[in-house]
C-alpha cells in the first residue's frame, strides 16, 4: 500500500508538514501544494527535515503554486521534483491512496 500524502499549509504556520513527514512510510510520496510549497524551498529551517525525508519518500511540489508565490524552480530543494496538475493526477493514480494533511 503506497500513499500519496498532500500538504497544503506552510510549515511555518502549521505542523502539517512535520506530522506528515513523521507518518509517511518508506516508499510513499509527499506532494506540497498551495501554501505548502514553502516547505520545498532551499534555505529554510525545515530544509534539513525535507532532505532527510528524501531518503524514504519521494517529494514533489506543485509548480503552479510555486510560480504563483514568486519562486522559480531553482529555489526548490535538490531532489524535490516539480509537477503540474496533470502530474498531481498521475501521482494520485500511481499510489494506492491519498492522505491529505490539512
Amino acid at each position: 500500500m503506497s500513499t500519496l500524502h498532500t500538504v497544503n499549509k506552510s510549515p511555518f504556520e502549521k505542523n502539517s508538514l512535520a506530522s506528515c513527514l513523521s507518518y509517511a512510510m518508506t516508499g510513499g510520496t509527499v506532494l506540497m501544494l498551495e501554501d505548502g510549497i514553502y516547505g520545498a524551498l532551499k534555505g529554510t529551517k525545515v530544509e534539513a527535515q525535507v532532505k532527510s525525508a528524501l531518503d524514504n519518500v519521494k517529494v514533489y511540489v506543485l509548480g503552479p503554486d510555486l510560480k504563483a508565490r514568486g519562486f522559480a524552480e531553482d529555489r526548490v530543494i535538490d531532489g524535490v521534483k516539480v509537477v503540474d496538475y496533470a502530474g498531481f493526477v498521475d501521482l494520485a493514480a500511481e499510489n494506492d491512496k491519498v492522505q491529505a494533511w490539512l
Binding site: 500500500m1 505542523n15 513523521s22 507518518y23 512510510m25 494506492d96
Partner: protein
C-alpha cells in the same frame, strides 16, 4: 449497500469548538456507520483534545457534542486510535480523556475499550494499511 468493504480511516487533527471540523467529522462517522465498512478513527496532534472529558460549553454558547463520542460504540465504531506522542506533547494522560467502550455481543455484551493508545510509529502502519483516509 454495495458489498464492497473498505478500511476507512477518519483522521482527526484539530481541537474542538475553535473550528467546526471536529463536530462535522463526527457527523460523517455516524452516517458512515450505516455503510458497514471497516472503520477506524485516529486522533493525532490537536485532535486528541476532542476526547478530553468534562467539556462544559454553556459559557461559549455552543452545543457540547462530546457525549457523541461515547455513542460511537453503539454505531459499531470500535477502533479509536489515540497517538501517545500527541498526548505527551500536550501534557495529557489517558485519564484526561473520556473512557469509550463498545459492547461485545459475542461475549454477553461485555464492555470493551474502544480507545487504543498507540505510538506514532504504530499508527503510521495502521494508517498505511487503510484504504481511504478522510481528512477534515
Amino acid at each position: 449497500m454495495s458489498g464492497v468493504i473498505k478500511n476507512f480511516m477518519y483522521l482527526n487533527r484539530r481541537a474542538p469548538y475553535g473550528t467546526i471540523y471536529a463536530w462535522e467529522s463526527l457527523e460523517v462517522v455516524l452516517i458512515g456507520a450505516a455503510f458497514d465498512q471497516d472503520v477506524s478513527l485516529a486522533f493525532v496532534d490537536d485532535g486528541v483534545y476532542q476526547l478530553v472529558k468534562g467539556q462544559q460549553t454553556a459559557e461559549i454558547g455552543m452545543k457540547n457534542f462530546s457525549p457523541t463520542y461515547s455513542a460511537l460504540g453503539d454505531y459499531e465504531v470500535k477502533k479509536i486510535f489515540v497517538e501517545t506522542e500527541s498526548l505527551e506533547e500536550r501534557g495529557l494522560t489517558p485519564d484526561d480523556l473520556q473512557h469509550l467502550v463498545w459492547e461485545d455481543e459475542d461475549d454477553d455484551w461485555a464492555e470493551r475499550d474502544s480507545i487504543r493508545f498507540v505510538s506514532r510509529a504504530e499508527l503510521a502502519e495502521i494508517m498505511e494499511a487503510s484504504d481511504v483516509v478522510f481528512s477534515f
